[in-house]
Symmetry: C2
Subunit: 128 residues, 2 copies
DNA sequence: ATTTATACTCACCTAAAAGAGAGTGTTATG
DNA sequence: CATAACACTCTCTTTTAGGTGAGTATAAAT
């Protein structure tokens, strides 16, 4: 998912910035990223399989993929303990934590307005 | 995009609520929804083609689809003026406005942390 | 000797999302 | 008479996301 930034007002925006905002927003808005962010914000440091069990329905592939992207973006920190069987721990970086906080508003909004939305939908579907 | 809510703690959640939160978060986190929300929050009432021009890269199909979903969820209000050529105006409802505000935190975060992320990526890609 | 656990990767496949492009009805305008 | 504007809809094709199931290395436990 890539987001195209709006060039609403005539001022040209640095296309580098534009591109970064686009795919950044796309990334954080992604399904699994949000859930993992939430989870790590609540629980602190966790291991790979632990996260996999907590985020219901995620496949190993998506878990790895999402964690890698988050690591690359500096949202999570990955610690590998060179033991056998392997032990890898993930935790949010400062950056990740602040993003979690920013997103918190959206989650709260969603929870708070569930009923109004349900009502709006029912009303909409009942029209005609 | 559908979101699977985490049933992390053992307490069973009403599956109705669960489902609604899931697809609600999925919906609002969606690419075009966020962009249109932003746009209407800034500019107020706008016509179909105006929005289409402002949200660069959106297809007519996606524009219609996204606006319809937002209307159904009670986020935007749609006013049809029965004239020819047709005139349809869209504006955020109160609900839409509050969501815009909640999302504002995320946009602000993205803008504020662009550089750190760019740096994190560069560092990550340079490893090995 | 076999199984188990961990944290993955890889190749293949399907389903869903999104894009492209044409078509529609009506009126004003050149 | 042809074209343009508006707000769409419809169909077709491409792209992307994501699922599935297998495989890997190593050591400890059974």
């Amino acid at each position: 998912m890539t987001i195209q930034f709006l060039t609403s007002n005539a001022q040209p925006i640095d296309p580098r910035i534009e591109k970064l905002v686009n795919d950044l927003i796309g990334r954080i808005a992604a399904k699994w990223t949000m859930l993992i962010l939430e989870l790590l914000a609540q629980r602190g440091e966790m291991r790979f399989t632990q996260i996999g069990r907590a985020v219901e329905g995620i496949s190993q592939k998506m878990l790895t993929q999402t964690l890698r992207q988050m690591e690359r973006d500096g949202l999570v920190h990955r610690t590998v303990h060179p033991v056998v069987p392997p032990k890898v721990e993930y935790r949010l970086t400062d950056l990740g934590l602040t993003l979690g906080e920013a997103f918190c508003g959206v989650w709260t909004w969603a929870e708070a307005h569930l009923e109004r939305i349900e009502a709006a939908r029912a009303a909409f579907d009942a029209r005609d």
